[in-house]
Amino acid sequence: MKPPKNNKYQLFLYLISALTGAHGAGNSSNINREQPILLHDRPHDQYMPAANIIRIMRRGLPPHAKIADEAKDTVQHCVSEFINFITSEANDRCHREQRKTVTAEDLLWAMARLGFEDYIEPLTLFLNRYREMESGRTSMHGEPFVKCTVDLGLPPGPTNYGLQAWPAGQAHGVFDAHGAMMMNGMNNYYRDNHGGGSSSSGQAAALPGFDPYVQFKRSL
């Protein structure tokens, strides 16, 4: 607690805090910085919500682990920086190729180029399943869990990042888009507009209980 009457004392405190770098917990909008203004100075909607980030962090940690607040902030900033980093690279590619739309494939390309090759395979799987579900939703007309066995003999395409067909199993569970949904195969890569568009929310889900846009309805 600072004695209000003593200016020298306050100056002393300021100097101490400047020397130790203790500018306040989580307060990173700063002072002696030669680098350009970074994400710390941006409003909160430039970050992913902390609750989501913390939940994901906890998945990789043992139950007893604790996370300091400033660590949460830092990860939050890092995520936005990651998005910026990848998007810029993807956007540059679009410009070079004179395209206006940054696509999912551009992002995957950028990630591979920037050292995140390990992400490509799980992302490709994820994206394909998402697309299958989208196309299944628009073309199945309410029969999402048709049991069928589909053998996809898909050749690897030049930009399929090594996609492989996997044998379909029985459809069970909300998220199994497996055999039942493989209507359009895997070459949806370049499709920007699926039926209904991916940006719309609240579509009548063909899969009961499944709503990919549930986060819009969730209050965090």
């Binding site: 410009h95 199994d176 497996h178 699926h194």
Partner: protein
């Protein structure tokens, strides 16, 4: 038997419970993407989908590496310094160097004597 967990990819639990496949809000992702540079004009519908998963992978990777640093120091609390150390020790996180060294506000030339 099914192969990889449906939709969630193989690298992580992916879907948090049954609340939906995306743990991160797509609209927010799109907003951040648009602000990454002035000339990002249009973003395809499934680009944020990719990021919703990519950011999960990123967070998991960063967290695990940071936790390894904390463990080495025999701590159970993850600190910002652990994240800084992990960033410095991982090549693919080089783009974060300015961000983490800036916010620690210690040395001014980016050289941190933090790596353990």
């Amino acid at each position: 038997m099914r192969q990889a967990g449906a939709y969630s990819g193989i690298a992580s639990g992916g879907i948090s419970g049954r609340t939906g496949p995306h743990s991160l809000p797509l609209a927010r992702i799109k907003k951040i993407m648009k602000n990454s540079s002035d000339d990002v004009k249009m973003i395809s519908g499934d680009a944020p989908i990719v990021f919703s998963k990519a950011c999960e992978l990123f967070i998991e990777q960063l967290t695990k590496r940071s936790w390894a640093v904390a463990l080495q120091a025999k701590r159970r609390t993850l600190h910002k310094d652990d994240i800084t150390s992990a960033v410095m020790a991982t090549d693919v996180f080089d783009f974060l160097l300015n961000l983490v060294s800036d916010s620690t506000g210690t040395k001014d030339d980016g050289h941190q004597a933090i790596g353990k």
